[in-house]
Symmetry: none
Amino acid sequence: MEPTAELLPQHFQINPSLPIYEQFVEAIRRRIVCGAIPPGMRLPSVRELAAARGVNPTTAARTYQELERSGLIVTYRGQGTFVTRDGDIITDARRAIAVQAVRDFFEAAASLGLTAEQMLNMYREDSHDNEA
Amino acid sequence: MEPTAELLPQHFQINPSLPIYEQFVEAIRRRIVCGAIPPGMRLPSVRELAAARGVNPTTAARTYQELERSGLIVTYRGQGTFVTRDGDIITDARRAIAVQAVRDFFEAAASLGLTAEQMLNMYREDSHDNEA
Amino acid sequence: MEPTAELLPQHFQINPSLPIYEQFVEAIRRRIVCGAIPPGMRLPSVRELAAARGVNPTTAARTYQELERSGLIVTYRGQGTFVTRDGDIITDARRAIAVQAVRDFFEAAASLGLTAEQMLNMYREDSHDNEA
Amino acid sequence: MEPTAELLPQHFQINPSLPIYEQFVEAIRRRIVCGAIPPGMRLPSVRELAAARGVNPTTAARTYQELERSGLIVTYRGQGTFVTRDGDIITDARRAIAVQAVRDFFEAAASLGLTAEQMLNMYREDSHDNEA
DNA sequence: GTGGTCTAGACCACT
DNA sequence: GTGGTCTAGACCACC
């Protein structure tokens, strides 16, 4: 049996007040698109993931279902689940996350009537205050 | 009866897949911290808000309760609800939103292994593609 | 017209989230039982109280009604409202407030499984922390 | 299903003139901070609490929501609600209740122009009278 | 008029 | 099973 990926960072903490499967999907998606889990790598089984993180197996299964829907992972029946080897899918996903993050940032600025520049200044002031 | 604030932007659309009261809270919070609804201004009554947006009065009431808990609005028994006159609370809320937005942005970049600069470039390319 | 009592301490602040008339009743009751407003003293009229504190006259009226029910004040039609001259009523009210306060304190201690002594220690530690 | 805590004292009586959910919150908070319900213990489900006390499930839910906001309990989606395992939160809550009780007591004494000692004497006299 | 609370019952997402 | 939300409609206290 081939080695499987370290799916989630070891320090990964579940926030019980949000859907667990969503937190898993989001974290794994980012691990894939940033290259931490390379194309073709085998993922742990649903049962392994569930046991490793102490969650219900159905929660782990749903995590993989969502990732499979987006095409980032592929399941070969009887063999296991693997990161897609289709580079375009990964690139597109990376771009989508980046674009959405920028869009959210600009939207927040606009709703406050601030420029991105002013937002960053507030952030720096705040960080500075908390250090001091 | 004193005039009341135009609470939400006219184009405001309810997203049925998220809690209504949370969407209201978030939108009103931003209207207050950006100054669109000034300190001391009276807000429409619970029943007015409910009627204007076609939701149940208890949903509107919950919206105001949440905002009151954060201190941005104050309820005067039997008279109505008003934006706080405490400028510090408003300033703090504005700062908190801005700081969180910047933090989210940086965190997204880090999780993708990108710099903020690279994120912005992806955004610009994407916008350019969609225009073309 | 005889002078009227300074009904409430000048620094008295209305908490809008509690019934105003209750806050007035409680504050005036204590002013009477501690002797700050002596027996027989004339109280300001309902309208004066309402104007002085910026509240609805019906709120001021209800304040007096409640105090009259307890016997601490008496209204002579056409002449005004006065603190009772019946010393027993005042003494009883003072005792009732004191007894209730002690009872509340002991009850709080019991519900925490603490002795009064331990409660006071926590209080002193806390005050000390906040000074330091 | 794991056992759940005996949430409220058996003799607990609802006072119909105060909000039910507030009475529940206050009583449960004290059960937690005095250790009667230990950290990590599962609480009865919203529906169980509602049935046991004859109130609407939404009233029970509101009780838990309030306690969760203060951090004393934590909700695990789909699994139930549990007392926090964060000892600091519990300790802080206990201290806050104790400090507030002492403060209320001193404030009552001050408003009557009495010392704490005199208050206690009045209480003892009163108890003695009622026994006799 | 105002907001606050409670009930009843439905629907939903998550585990 | 769990809690979360929404609706509908009632009642109440306060101003």
